[in-house]
Symmetry: C2
Subunit: 133 residues, 2 copies
């Protein structure tokens, strides 16, 4: 249920993955349209590298190959958070969360939503978070 082997995406790779997660399988040109300040062959090369790494797959049936994310957004995001958790906070989720919610840009609405998350985590673990606005 996770993505065992593929490495953590780098910066540029994550930008591309986020496009694929949001837009679904896409050609190089389609990905390019959602990335700022990048040349065509740059995105192409990145996707080729990402394919080697197992981060994306591609469908070659059309002339313009169609790339799709080979790793799930949720598990990848989780690993990125865990990585930072280890590197900067010694594994203390509380200290990381403290910084995440300390920002000026966190609305009371968000705070409320996070509170709901805490409820669902602490009590039971039936299914995932309430929703995803």
């Amino acid at each position: 249920m996770s993505d065992p082997d593929a490495p953590l995406p780098t910066d540029a790779e994550l930008s591309i993955l986020r496009v694929l997660w949001r837009e679904g399988p896409s050609t190089v040109r389609e990905v390019l349209a959602h990335i700022d300040d990048a040349g065509y062959t740059t995105v192409l090369k990145q996707l080729q590298i990402m394919r080697d790494k197992g981060l994306v797959t591609r469908d070659e049936s059309s002339r313009a190959h169609v790339y799709a994310a080979a790793v799930q957004a949720a598990s990848t995001e989780k690993r990125l958070v865990d990585d930072l958790l280890d590197r900067a906070f010694g594994g203390s989720a509380r200290r990381l969360v403290a910084h995440a919610i300390a920002g000026d840009s966190v609305s009371d609405e968000e705070i409320g939503a996070i509170r709901d998350l805490l409820d669902s985590v602490q009590s039971d673990d039936s299914d995932d978070g309430p929703d995803d606005s």
Copy 2:
């Protein structure tokens, strides 16, 4: 009150900064004692580079120079979290926190502490978090 100019620390740099934050001003050898799998000159070189970047300062009055963090733990951690927030979550603190607390290793005690943090952020902003166990 923040650390304007110094860049975000890299991986190895963060490891060293965390030692300095925890142990206070230290010599190369003292830092080395808290780092796993690193040679003496490696740590030395890192500290020299970090000095060039403005991440640490050093006191040369003793033969063994004493290095001290030049950036605050809190603001650096905040910037690291904000960086991940931007790169992976489009700025949504809720989505980041969801992953941070979803871990199996987050105790109910931690959950409670995070809930307290939410209270202090949402309602008043008199002074900082309750404590730091």
